[in-house]
Symmetry: C2
Subunit: 325 residues, 2 copies
């Protein structure tokens, strides 16, 4: 299967590495909105200007879109879906229905197949919520993120005057996890579920107290959480905080029996050294499914909920039943 990567940031580089791990996949090239001459891929894969992708249409089975959800994907995914099978990782949960409708219309018009909102949340965590809720209808599920770097929260801190660099870790609160695992179904506030740990490099003349206050009182991002702010040097940032770990938990507890006398717990947990590389692994597996489904004539937009798991694996259905069932 021949894939193109559109966008070459952390996620694009992760997709490039992931394609190498899948012998049935081949990378046609990386398409970028930067000057292609300034972009050097990690594997030596060719780099093309973004708009050149249409000239490669016949060589490409699917395009992995590696842009951002805020401004790139709402425009990019529907536009490319008219001509290509595309997979994106659109993660603005509230806007998924509108994004789905736009991509579905474009893909149906172009007789292509798309998958949106693929990754681990939305993505594998969504699947865990769906399976668990279908199996244990009388139950409640909880999603925790971290310990891991939130790019959005890190960016928000960097926009504060006097901040040179910042890294924000989202940290699940152990007492909340334990309460849920016990089978209790507590109602938890944002503050009771996660801590926010911030590491900040300040300009030499910056007012650190003002920065700390600006962070801790920032609405939506930090005001509703217990937040710690630690000032560090640029060297410490580089040495201790240059990785992008992440992960989290989806936990559902539920009751069965005529009187609800039995309690069950389903827990799905991810511990990731590299958020973008893991996300890329999910995208490539689902790209395999989209390629197969498109070759069976399917068109329109899909999500992870619509994909039969067997289509994700390089193994045949016979081999899957024999070795994994």
């Amino acid at each position: 299967m021949k894939l193109a990567i559109y966008g070459y940031g952390n996620l694009g580089r992760g997709a490039e590495a992931a394609i190498l791990q899948n012998p049935d996949m081949e990378l046609v090239g990386v398409f970028t909105r930067r000057d292609p001459n300034t972009v050097q891929t990690k594997t030596g894969a060719p780099v093309f200007a973004a708009d050149e992708i249409y000239a490669h249409k016949d060589e490409i089975d699917a395009v992995i879109l590696c842009g951002g959800s805020a401004t790139d994907l709402p425009e990019l995914t529907p536009r490319l879906a008219r001509d290509f099978n595309v997979i994106d990782s659109f993660d603005t949960h509230a806007n998924i229905p509108a994004h789905f409708d736009a991509v579905d219309a474009a893909a149906k018009a172009g007789h292509t197949l798309s998958l949106i909102s693929c990754g681990w949340d939305p993505g594998m965590f969504s699947l865990s919520r769906l399976y668990a809720s279908a199996i244990l209808p009388d139950g409640k599920d909880y999603t925790f993120w971290g310990r891991g770097v939130s790019q959005g929260h890190s960016d928000a801190i960097r926009r504060i005057p006097g901040v040179l660099d910042a890294r924000q870790y989202t940290v699940p609160i152990p007492e909340a996890l334990e309460a849920i695992r016990s089978g209790a179904q507590p109602t938890l506030s944002a503050r009771q579920k996660h801590l926010r740990e911030c590491y900040v490099v300040a300009a030499p003349d910056a007012d650190k107290a003002a920065i700390e206050t600006a962070i801790k009182t920032m609405p939506n991002y930090f005001a509703d959480y217990d937040t710690t702010v630690t000032f560090i040097t640029a060297e410490e940032m580089q040495k201790c905080h240059s990785a992008l770990p992440h992960g989290g938990f989806v936990i559902r507890t539920g009751k069965t029996g005529l009187q609800g006398e039995h309690t069950h717990r389903i827990e799905y947990a991810l511990t990731l050294d590299s958020n973008p590389e893991f996300t890329a692994g999910v995208l490539i597996a689902f790209a395999r499914a989209i390629g197969r489904m498109a070759s069976r004539g399917e068109t329109g937009c899909r999500t992870v909920f619509d994909i039969a798991p067997a289509d994700l694996s390089p193994l045949s259905r016979d081999d899957l039943r024999r070795t994994m069932l």
Copy 2:
């Protein structure tokens, strides 16, 4: 959706309770090979003789088969698949391909749709293995069972002369779990992964030392494991060991990056108060999918690998995208 339960042991009673938790499901009746007059259902659902099921063919959307894998299901599932959409929990892993072929042929001949080997292993654990291996191709997965009651091992002990009752718990070894969670990919023997804890009620005149030796040296079941044997009274058995808890873990660790420089861990864990009631919950969710797929004209045999997750949920795809993705 109208369901029938065929077989009324622990799993059949679990299915009866699970149907009540799903407002879109209705129980037509319980079909049993015992004298129906001797069977009283927990909810007052009607009880019929097994062969009467054909007289109810037009009322039944799918049949939940609650027989055993050793002798019942290999004969029963293909036979009923000729006339009904059926779901079974066939769990003899080595015989799944042959069972699949027999059921597939029967279902195609009868223009019906079947699902075999549904539950948690095979079932949800199989799905976890498949998803994780597709996402992290350069990795290794491990399945642990327990702490929980193994009915097969308990039965094997009960067949020893002088044993009145027995309960066997399969117990994962914490050191093995920790080694795997660290990202190491050890090769582990059966003995290194699980302990076997046995609780035995012996006849008053039984030779306990001989029973203990017979258990610990039993090939396949116990000889390859560290096994503990504890003799208890019938009262203790009733008080402390009458439940059927189970559960376990599927853990895959794998590497990404051009030099495999990043390690990731995917873990799926179940902690179940009642193995049969949880298994029944899985069967009912997949019965919903089979009913929908059959109404779309699909025929033949399927496994959990072939089911798009959205078909498991009572929610519409729109609602799923809006609330769970």
